[in-house]
Structures are given as structure tokens and as C-alpha cells.
């Protein structure tokens, strides 16, 4: 593992140096799905700031909504995967 990283270090350094924040897109085409975590957190932070009546319970509410979004999206992805890959071929 360490040898693999060391062997690719020049390429990784070149990619990191090449990336210009806010001008170039992040080089994460293979890991795009991980962006759901900051997306869910950002939506929960902004939405709960408007909707909670009492700010004392703000952060637990944010954590709960973030988890709900992430679990909901993963459940939706699993349901669509089962439908497209398993159920549709039965009738195809």
C-alpha cells in the first residue's frame, strides 16, 4: 500500500499543484458520491436555522436532519438499484 502511494506521489503532487481553487473543478470524478455528506450537512444547517423554534436544540436537530437526508438518499438508491437491476430484467 505504502509502496503504491510512494510510486504515484509525483502524479498526485502534479494533480494537487495543477488544481486552482474556485477556477478548476475538484479532481474527484470517481468519488463524486461522497459529496452527499457536505451537501446534507449544509442543507440541514441552513434549513434548521430557519425552522427550529428554540436555538438551544439546534445542533441535535441538524445532526438528525443530516442523518435523515443521507439515509433517505441511500435507501432511495438501494430501491432504484433493486428495481432497475433485478425487477426490470424479469419483465424485459
Amino acid at each position: 500500500m505504502i509502496h503504491h502511494i510512494a510510486a504515484n506521489a509525483p502524479a498526485l503532487n502534479a494533480a494537487a499543484l495543477a488544481w486552482r481553487p474556485f477556477l478548476d473543478p475538484l479532481p474527484m470524478h470517481g468519488l463524486w458520491w461522497t459529496l452527499i455528506f457536505p451537501l446534507a450537512l449544509g442543507v440541514a444547517v441552513a434549513y434548521k436555522a430557519v425552522s427550529v423554534p428554540n436555538m438551544d436544540r439546534y445542533w441535535p436537530q441538524v445532526a438528525r436532519m443530516t442523518a435523515q437526508i443521507i439515509l433517505g438518499m441511500f435507501a432511495l438508491a438501494a430501491a432504484l438499484y433493486i428495481f432497475v437491476e433485478l425487477i426490470v430484467p424479469l419483465y424485459g
Binding site: 486552482r20 481553487p21 474556485f22 477556477l23 478548476d24 473543478p25 475538484l26 474527484m28 470524478h29 463524486w32 459529496l35 457536505p38 451537501l39 449544509g42 442543507v43 440541514a44 444547517v45 441552513a46 434549513y47 434548521k48 436555522a49 430557519v50 436555538m55 439546534y58
Partner: protein, 171 residues
């Protein structure tokens, strides 16, 4: 039918301040902590989208419908788009119109910026558009929220109807 409370009428100033800068409307209403969290959430999502997809995700000419959502951020979105259109896009040699720079044939010659393609572009644009739509909710909330300390009117609570005992038949 309940009559709307006078404190739930539209207050234009906080709504306009919320449109000018995310969180400013709630700050003016005295909701300081709420205002800071709205600003952190909305601007964090917007600039997070710019970080993910690059400045090319805010483009009122090429991605108009994404920009409709992003525009609810207010002047910040228009300023980013202005910079993108006027300082980063390059004039096309044939038409003269400013367009996104094409990928260079020689990787050593880098354009002023590179427009994302595929999912990274979509996710960056989605971050920025969701930020705008969340700010729209904050604008509406600031416009109708009573100032700190004033109670919010609640609809009158009607007691549940009591079930009357069956009338005894007179024998």
C-alpha cells in the same frame, strides 16, 4: 376563520436585507445566532459549490435554469456571474461573443479557468442552486417573522368535542 395577527404582516425591510446578504434579515430582527447559522449554511453551500465545480457552475447564459435558483442568494451570485462572464470567458474569434475557453491542445498552456463537465459540474451547480433556494426560505421567514421577544400568534385552540352520553329513553 381566524383573523391574521398584525405581527404576521409582511415586513419588507428584513426581507430585503435577507435578499441583500443571507442572514442579514434575521440579524436585523435581533435573531443573531439564527442569522449567523443561516449565513454559514447558505454561503457555505454556495461557495462549496464553487469549490467543487469551479466558477463555471454559476453561468447565467449557459446554465440559465441553474442560475434562477442561484440568483436567490442575491448580489453575491450576480457578482460571481459578472466576474465569470466579463473577466474569465474569452471572446470567440469568429462570433466575438464571450465563451468558456476550450480545453487546450497543449496541457502546459492553461486557460483562465476550466469548466467542469459531468457529475462534478452538476453537483457544484446543485450546491449553489440549493443555497439559493434555502435563502429564499430564509427571505420569506425574515419577512413574516415577528421581532425577538414578540410572541408569534397561534391559531385558537378549540377544545375537543366531548362525546355526550347517550340519552336515556324515557320509559
Amino acid at each position: 376563520m381566524s383573523r391574521p395577527d398584525s405581527q404576521e404582516k409582511l415586513q419588507p425591510l428584513p426581507a430585503l436585507l435577507a435578499l441583500a446578504l443571507p442572514g442579514l434579515g434575521h440579524f436585523a430582527l435581533g435573531e443573531r445566532r439564527r442569522a449567523v447559522m443561516i449565513a454559514v449554511g447558505v454561503l457555505g453551500l454556495f461557495f462549496g459549490g464553487l469549490l467543487i465545480g469551479g466558477v463555471g457552475v454559476v453561468d447565467r447564459k449557459d446554465d440559465f435554469w441553474w442560475f434562477v435558483g442561484q440568483a436567490c442568494i442575491g448580489p453575491v451570485a450576480f457578482a460571481v456571474d459578472w466576474g465569470h462572464q466579463n473577466h474569465l470567458k474569452q471572446p470567440d474569434p469568429v462570433t466575438g461573443q464571450r465563451v468558456s475557453p476550450p480545453p487546450p491542445a497543449d496541457p502546459a498552456l492553461r486557460p483562465a479557468y476550466s469548466k467542469a463537465i459531468g457529475r462534478v459540474h452538476e453537483i457544484g451547480a446543485l450546491f449553489a442552486a440549493l443555497a439559493g433556494l434555502l435563502n429564499l426560505i430564509a427571505i420569506i421567514d425574515a419577512g413574516w417573522r415577528p421581532p425577538t421577544g414578540a410572541p408569534r400568534s397561534t391559531p385558537p385552540v378549540t377544545p375537543p368535542e366531548r362525546r355526550r352520553p347517550p340519552e336515556e329513553h324515557a320509559s
